[in-house]
Amino acid sequence: MSFLTISHLKKSFGATTVVHDFNLDIEKGEFVSFLGPSGCGKTTVLRMVAGFETPTSGKISIGGQDVVNLKPNQRNIGMVFQAYALFPNMTVAQNVAFGLKVAKKPQAEIDATVQEMLSLIKLDHLGDRYPYQLSGGQQQRVALARALATKPQVLLLDEPLSALDAKIRVSLREEIRAIQRKLGITTIFVTHDQEEALSISDRIVVMYEGKAEQVGAPFEIYNQPSSRFVASFVGTLNTFDATVRDAAAGIIAIDGKDVMIGQKITNHKTGDKISLAVRPEAVSLGEATDKRETTLDGKINSVHFLGSVIRIRASLGENIVSFDTFNNPSAPPPSPGENVKVSLAAKDMLLLGQ
């Protein structure tokens, strides 16, 4: 029996259904991310778990207890918002103490917990400051401490890093993950940033148009996307148009050249047009190697120097691929318009359903 169970959850606003038959089991202490484009229903699911929205149908249970009919203030759930939502009239310490005061804990316990929380977020020295005297990153850490102070059963974070600078975003996400591990708190983290989700989650739920498209560990989601949407949303994906040459032998033609993809093509016949996808890391510049056995002729479209990596876009006939190469001080990158050889690992190509 998992700790947090969401089953057949549905939510409609008037005539539009924004969450369809959403199912998810989360284990105690697990860190699960909801990943999906803006408007796909991530916040709505989270708000139903928190109790701010009532499901149209479906069940949510936490620790074996059905919570759908509980008010938000009865659920013992910690919530962190994108906009921090600290109480401006209270100091940092008073903000963190709020939930404990509401729960009528003895003052000594409140003081001790506030101290503990402030050192957890490494802001011991700022307890007397007001929220407006803190940076965005500090405010969000206080919001996290405030949510954790009451020892909630579940922690929900709705795009907590979206309002922050890129640098702070990375360091704070590591910090959130470290704190989550330390406390072993069951956590749902909402984001539209695939890198964020991939880097800190135990499992990712990729959402699309109100449905869970795929649930799995980051490695699995990235390497074995179950649908075209997941494949294109998670990571940069190159898609190819190709023709099936021999379905049983797994041979296709890309731009007139036969390529063995090393798997049987089951749902298409010889002669069909199909789409394939390939991750940038399966593509590289230059002649074929052991790892990338197929060579194609290409022409450079653009070269973006990003520092340690260089992002190249090249056209292979009708198809366009984008891939990265590492910066090499002794070999300058090709320039746009140049004809090059591009090699790829055909075995790593994904057949996409239409």
Binding site: P72, M79, A83, A143, A147
Partner: protein
Amino acid sequence: MKTNRFWSWIALAFGILYFVVPLIGTLEFSLRMRRGVYSLDAYWVILSDPRFQATFGYSIVMALVTIVVGIVLVVPTAYWVRLRLPSWRPFLEFITLLPLVIPAIVVVFGYIRLYNTSSFLPLTGSAMGTNILLVFGYTMLALPYMYRAVDTGLGAIDIRTMTEAAESLGASRIKIMWSVILPNVLVAVLSGAFLTFAIVIGEFTMAALLNRPAFGPFLQLIGANRAYEPAALAVISFAITWVCMGLIQVVTRLNKSLAATKR
């Protein structure tokens, strides 16, 4: 540009003259009670008049009660409408503006008809009942100002997320109102309160027709029967109003400088 400035100054000068000349005239006149020299005699007469003390005290108490009733009525209503019924806001705004278009005399006659001694709720039958009625009347008169001030204050903070944050921390509605919402709109509430105070202190129609010993009717009584004292009273009531307006400025400034440090 230059001519623009010029006309602005002319307009300003005209405005100042328009407001200040009668005031100076009144002030000057109020000081002439003693023949031949300027003196504060008229003020002493007023301030030592027991009726002044009684009516002024009465009106202050009424103003304070009105402020409390106004806050209790307006803050939760404006909050709830913003939070849960945003589509009702225009309707509520319209309702709160009605006191500006319905003359107080119409309202008070309505009250007297509805709540007279032979009605279902004979409020006018006792002094206390009439006081209550008067407070409700005042609350209504102050509604446009109180509602606007509070609603603007609520608009300046993210009440929705703040409410949800407090809710997820276990707080009840009342706790949220009291510890989260009210402290954050206090400045707005205070400006509404000072305006209410200024309105109630000088109000005549309702108090007179409900026959309550308020400051407004006293002003009128003195005005009708004396020469110098009404001028002194007028100056005093101006001063009270100005103090209220000044206090609004002070709290708004304080809040602005606080908000500026928030950036």
